[in-house]
C-alpha cells in the first residue's frame, strides 16, 4: 500500500466553487458533510415534533378525568410520539447525521464509499418521515395502534384507513434508508481508512457505527418483510396474522421484536460511541480498556439478536428461562463499558464543558435504566410490571438517556467541527441542568406509578386510582425538559446570529476529525498526521504523552508492523 501522507495536489482544487451553491447545492449534494447536516436538521425537527406531542400527552395525564384531547387523538399522539422518536429521530440523528459527518473524518476518508447511495438514503428517509406525518391529514387520522403495531389490532378491520397505511409505507422507506446507510458506513470503514489506520486504531465512535451497521443489516430486513406481510394482510386478502384464515397473530410479535430489540441497540450503540469520544477528550486521557470496549460492543450486538422474546414474557408462548438468561447476560458487557468510562475519568484531569456534562449525565441516568432493565428481564417481575409505567420509565431512562443526553453530548462536542462555530457555554450548562433535573422529576414518579398499577397508553384514569399526584409531578418535569430544549434552541440561534469562530481543535481532542479545519474542506483533509494509535491528533500535539512506548508489549508490536 502506498503510504502517501500528503494527499495528491489536485485535491486542493476548490471543487465547491465550480458546483452549484445555496439551495441547489443542498438538494443535489453527495458530500457526506452536507448529507450529514441534512440528517441532523431533519431528525432534530422530528425530535421537536415528537417532543411537542409528548407535552400534550403529559398535559392530558397531569390529573384524573382530564379531557385535553379526545381518546382517539390521544391514541394517535402516543403512536406518533413513539414512531417519530424511534424511527425518525433517535436512529437517523446518530446513524444518519453524526455518523455521516464524523465517520469519514475519523478514518481519514475523503467521503463515504457510495456518495450517491448516501444521498438516496437521505431522500428516502425524508420522504418516509413526511409520509408518516402526513397521516395526520387523512380522514381517519394518523396511525393509532402504538409504535409496535401489534397484529391483529393493526389489520384492516381494526385499524382501517389511509393513516395506518402511510405509517407502513413510511416504515418501509426509512427502513431501506437505514439499510443503505448501514452498507455505506461498513464499506467506508472497511475500505477507505487512511494509511496506518488499522481496525484497532479506529476510534470507538466509528467502531460502534460499524457494529450498528451490522445490526441494521440483521434487523431491518426482518422488519421490512414483516410490514410487507402486514400490508398484504390489509390489502391483498392474505391471513398471515389473522386467526380467521389460519394465521398466527403472535408471529407479528416475534418478527417485530426480532427487529425491535436489535433496534434498541441500533439506537443506543451510536450514542455510547458519542460518550466514548467525549469522556477521554475532557479527561485528557486515552480511553481505558479500548479493546475491551470493542469486544463489549460486539457482544452486546450479538446478544441483542437473542433476547427479542423478553418483550413477550406475558404472552405465555415463549421459553422464559432462555430469554431471561440472554437478557441478563447483556448486563455484563454493559457493565464493562461503565467501568471503562469510569476508568477513563479515573486520575484524569476532567474539564466540565457542556459536552462532558451531558456525557456524565448520560452515565448517571443510563445506569438506573440499566438496573431496572435487569428487573424486567426477570419474567416474574415482568408479569407484575409489563405494560405499566414502570416499563415506560425504564425505556425512557435508557433511550432518553442515550439518544438525548448522549446525543446532545455528541452534538455539543462536534458542533464546532460541523459548523465552524462555538456554542455558548452558559446557555449549554443551563440547558443541561434543566434537562438533568427535569429528567428525574419526569421519570422517577413514573416508576412508582407503574409499581402502583398504572398501565401504559391509557388516555385517562379516574381519581379513585390515586395516581393524580405523581402524574402531576411527572408532567411538571416534562415541562422542564421542554424548557431545556428551548434553551438549547436559543443557543443554536445565538451561535447562528452572533458567531464565535471555532478553532480546529477546541477541546484538545485526539481523534482524526480534529486534525482538519472547522468546518472541514471539501474533501476533508489536506494532510493527515501519522497514525500510530486511536488518537493520532493527540500524539501529534503531545508527542511526550503518547500511549505507545509506555507499554513494551504494544511497543513491540508497533515495531513489528513498521
Amino acid at each position: 500500500m502506498a503510504l502517501t501522507i500528503d494527499r495528491p495536489v489536485q485535491a486542493e482544487h476548490h471543487e465547491e466553487e465550480h458546483g452549484p451553491s445555496g439551495l441547489l447545492k443542498w438538494l443535489t449534494s453527495t458530500d457526506h458533510k452536507v448529507i450529514g447536516k441534512s440528517y441532523l436538521i431533519t431528525s432534530f425537527v422530528f425530535f421537536l415534533m415528537a417532543g411537542v406531542m409528548a407535552m400534550v400527552i403529559r398535559t392530558q395525564l397531569s390529573g384524573p378525568d382530564n379531557t385535553v384531547v379526545s381518546q382517539h387523538v390521544y391514541n394517535e399522539l402516543f403512536t406518533m410520539h413513539g414512531s417519530l422518536m424511534l424511527y425518525l429521530f433517535a436512529g437517523p440523528f446518530a446513524f444518519g447525521g453524526l455518523a455521516n459527518f464524523i465517520v469519514p473524518l475519523q478514518v481519514g476518508a475523503p467521503d463515504m464509499a457510495f456518495p450517491r447511495l448516501n444521498a438516496l438514503s437521505y431522500w428516502l428517509y425524508l420522504s418516509g418521515g413526511i409520509t408518516m406525518i402526513a397521516g395526520f391529514f387523512t380522514v381517519g387520522g394518523a396511525a393509532d395502534f402504538g409504535w409496535v403495531a401489534y397484529a391483529p389490532l393493526s389489520d384492516a378491520v381494526n385499524s382501517p384507513g389511509a393513516g395506518p397505511d402511510m405509517w407502513i409505507v413510511a416504515l418501509a422507506l426509512t427502513g431501506f434508508s437505514a439499510i443503505f446507510t448501514g452498507v455505506n458506513i461498513i464499506t467506508t470503514v472497511f475500505y477507505l481508512r487512511a494509511p496506518g489506520m488499522t481496525m484497532f486504531r479506529v476510534p470507538i465512535f466509528t467502531w460502534n457505527m460499524v457494529v450498528t451497521g451490522i445490526l441494521i443489516l440483521i434487523a431491518f430486513p426482518v422488519l421490512t418483510a414483516a410490514i410487507i406481510m402486514l400490508w398484504a394482510d390489509r390489502h391483498l386478502g392474505t391471513h398471515i396474522y389473522t386467526v380467521s384464515g389460519g394465521g398466527v397473530p403472535v408471529l407479528w410479535q416475534n418478527l417485530f421484536w426480532f427487529f425491535g430489540h436489535p433496534e434498541v441497540y441500533i439506537l443506543a450503540l451510536p450514542y455510547f460511541g458519542c460518550v466514548t469520544e467525549v469522556i477521554p477528550a475532557f479527561s485528557k486521557k486515552p480511553l481505558f480498556g479500548y479493546r475491551g470496549m470493542i469486544f463489549a460492543t460486539i457482544s452486546i450486538a450479538a446478544l441483542s439478536t437473542a433476547v427479542w422474546a423478553h418483550h413477550m414474557f406475558t404472552t405465555g408462548t415463549v421459553l422464559l428461562p432462555f430469554f431471561s438468561l440472554m437478557s441478563y447476560l447483556i448486563a455484563i458487557p454493559t457493565g464493562i463499558k461503565f467501568f471503562n468510562w469510569i476508568g477513563t475519568m479515573w486520575r484524569g484531569s476532567i474539564e466540565f464543558k457542556t459536552p462532558m456534562l451531558f456525557a456524565v449525565g448520560f452515565l448517571v441516568v443510563f445506569l438506573l435504566g440499566g438496573v431496572t432493565g435487569i428487573f424486567l428481564a426477570a419474567p416474574p417481575i415482568d408479569f407484575a410490571t409489563h405494560d405499566t409505567y414502570f416499563v415506560i420509565a425504564h425505556f425512557h431512562e435508557v433511550l432518553f438517556g442515550s439518544a438525548v443526553f448522549g446525543g446532545f453530548a455528541g452534538l455539543y462536542y462536534w458542533y464546532p467541527k460541523i459548523t465552524g462555530r462555538m456554542m455558548r457555554e452558559s446557555l449549554g450548562k443551563a440547558s443541561f441542568w434543566l434537562m438533568f433535573i427535569g429528567f428525574w422529576v419526569t421519570f422517577l414518579p413514573q416508576y412508582l406509578l407503574g409499581l402502583r398499577g398504572m398501565p401504559r397508553r391509557i388516555a385517562e384514569y379516574s381519581a379513585s386510582t390515586g395516581w393524580g399526584g405523581l402524574n402531576r409531578i411527572s408532567t411538571f418535569g416534562a415541562y422542564l425538559l421542554f424548557l431545556s430544549v428551548a434553551v438549547m434552541m436559543i443557543n443554536f440561534y445565538v451561535s447562528w446570529r452572533n458567531p464565535i469562530p471555532a478553532p480546529d481543535n477546541p477541546w484538545d481532542a485526539g481523534t482524526l476529525e480534529w486534525g482538519t479545519t472547522s468546518p472541514p474542506p471539501h474533501h476533508n483533509f489536506n494532510s493527515i498526521p501519522p497514525i500510530r494509535s486511536e488518537r493520532p491528533v493527540w500524539d501529534f500535539n503531545h508527542p511526550e504523552h503518547t500511549t505507545f512506548g509506555l507499554h513494551s508489549r504494544e511497543h513491540a508490536s508497533e515495531e513489528r508492523r513498521d
Binding site: Y150, P152, L329, L368, V371, I381, F383, H386, D387
Partner: protein, 295 residues
C-alpha cells in the same frame, strides 16, 4: 455513611493503576491504613454495602422493603414480591456503588491545573475482575428467577374452580366451571358501553371477578378479537389474552378484599375504560355467591 468511606479510600484505590508524585503525600499521611492490600480493602468496603442493607432490613422488623410495589395478595404474587424485593435491593446496591465511583471520579479528578495526567489506558486484572463479578451475580440472579417463575407458573392438577375469562373490545366475560369442567351457569360480563371517562374500577359498570380465599383457582384466558392484557396489580400478575392462544394459570388468594383490574395491553379506542375488579371472599361466602348467581 459508606459513600464517605469510599471517598476516604479513593487515593488508595487510585494506587492500583499508577503511582505519580502527588501520591506520596497521601501515602505518608495515611501510612497506618495501608496494611491491607488495596484491592482487598476495596472488596471489603463493597461487601459492606449489602451487609448494611441486610442489617437495616432485620432491624426494620423482618419485612422486605417494597420500593413502592404491592406485596401481593395471592401466593403467586407474594413469590413475585420476594424476588422483586431482593433483586431491587441488589440492583440498587450495585447502582449506588457505580454512582459512587462516577461521582468520586468527577469530584476528585476535576481539572485543577494544566498538567497532563498520566496516560494509562488499561489494567488487565481490574478489567477481569469487573467482568467476572457481574457474571457471578448474573448466575445467582438467574437461579433465583427460575425458582420463582416455576412457582408462579405452576398449575395444580385439580383446581377448586375453573374460570373462563374472555377479553373483547371493550369488556370482560367471566364464566365459572367446577373442578371437573362442568359449567356452573354463572356468567358475569361488562354491561355498559364505554363512556367518555373511566369510572372507579369497582363501579357497577364494570364486571367483578369473585374468587374464594385460600383455594387455588384456574383462569383460562382467551380473547375474542385483538390482544388484551389481563392485569391485576395487587396480584402482581398480568397475562396477554390473545386470539388463537389459550393461556392457563392459577391464583391462590390469601387475603380477602376488593382489588382493581384493568386491560394493560393497548387494544384500541376505549382501552383506558376496559376495567374490572376482583373480590376475594371466604370459601363459604363464595359457594353462597355461586348459588345465588346461577342463571
Amino acid at each position: 455513611m459508606w459513600i464517605f468511606s469510599i471517598g476516604h479510600d479513593g487515593p488508595a484505590l487510585a494506587n492500583l493503576w499508577a503511582v505519580t508524585p502527588t501520591d506520596h503525600e497521601h501515602v505518608v499521611t495515611r501510612l497506618p491504613r495501608a496494611i491491607l492490600h488495596p484491592r482487598k480493602r476495596i472488596l471489603r468496603r463493597l461487601a459492606g454495602v449489602p451487609v448494611l442493607l441486610l442489617v437495616a432490613i432485620v432491624l426494620g422488623g423482618c419485612r422486605l422493603p417494597t420500593f413502592g410495589a404491592f406485596r401481593g395478595v395471592t401466593k403467586q404474587g407474594q413469590t413475585e414480591f420476594t424476588l422483586w424485593s431482593w433483586l431491587a435491593m441488589l440492583g440498587l446496591a450495585v447502582a449506588v456503588i457505580v454512582w459512587g465511583l462516577i461521582f468520586w471520579s468527577i469530584i476528585r479528578y476535576r481539572r485543577r491545573d494544566d498538567k497532563i495526567p498520566h496516560q494509562f489506558h488499561e489494567n488487565i486484572p481490574i478489567e477481569v475482575i469487573y467482568t467476572v463479578i457481574p457474571i457471578l451475580l448474573v448466575g445467582v440472579i438467574f437461579y433465583a428467577t427460575v425458582i420463582s417463575e416455576n412457582r408462579i407458573d405452576a398449575i395444580k392438577a385439580k383446581p377448586a374452580e375453573i374460570i373462563n375469562v374472555t377479553a373483547y373490545r371493550w369488556g370482560w366475560r367471566f364464566s365459572y366451571e367446577d373442578s371437573s369442567g362442568i359449567s356452573q351457569n354463572v356468567l358475569i360480563q361488562t354491561a355498559a358501553q364505554p363512556k367518555l371517562l373511566a369510572q372507579p374500577a369497582t363501579s357497577s359498570e364494570y364486571p367483578q371477578l369473585v374468587l374464594p380465599d385460600n383455594s387455588t383457582v384456574r383462569i383460562v384466558l382467551q380473547s375474542a378479537d385483538v390482544i388484551h392484557g389481563f392485569y391485576i396489580p395487587a396480584f402482581n400478575f398480568s397475562r396477554y389474552a390473545q386470539p388463537g392462544v389459550t393461556n392457563e394459570f392459577d391464583f391462590t388468594p390469601t387475603i380477602t378484599g376488593v382489588f382493581r383490574g384493568q386491560c394493560a395491553q393497548y387494544c384500541g379506542l376505549y382501552h383506558s375504560e376496559m376495567l374490572f375488579s376482583v373480590r376475594v371472599i371466604s370459601k363459604v361466602d363464595f359457594s353462597n355467591w355461586l348459588s345465588a348467581n346461577r342463571s
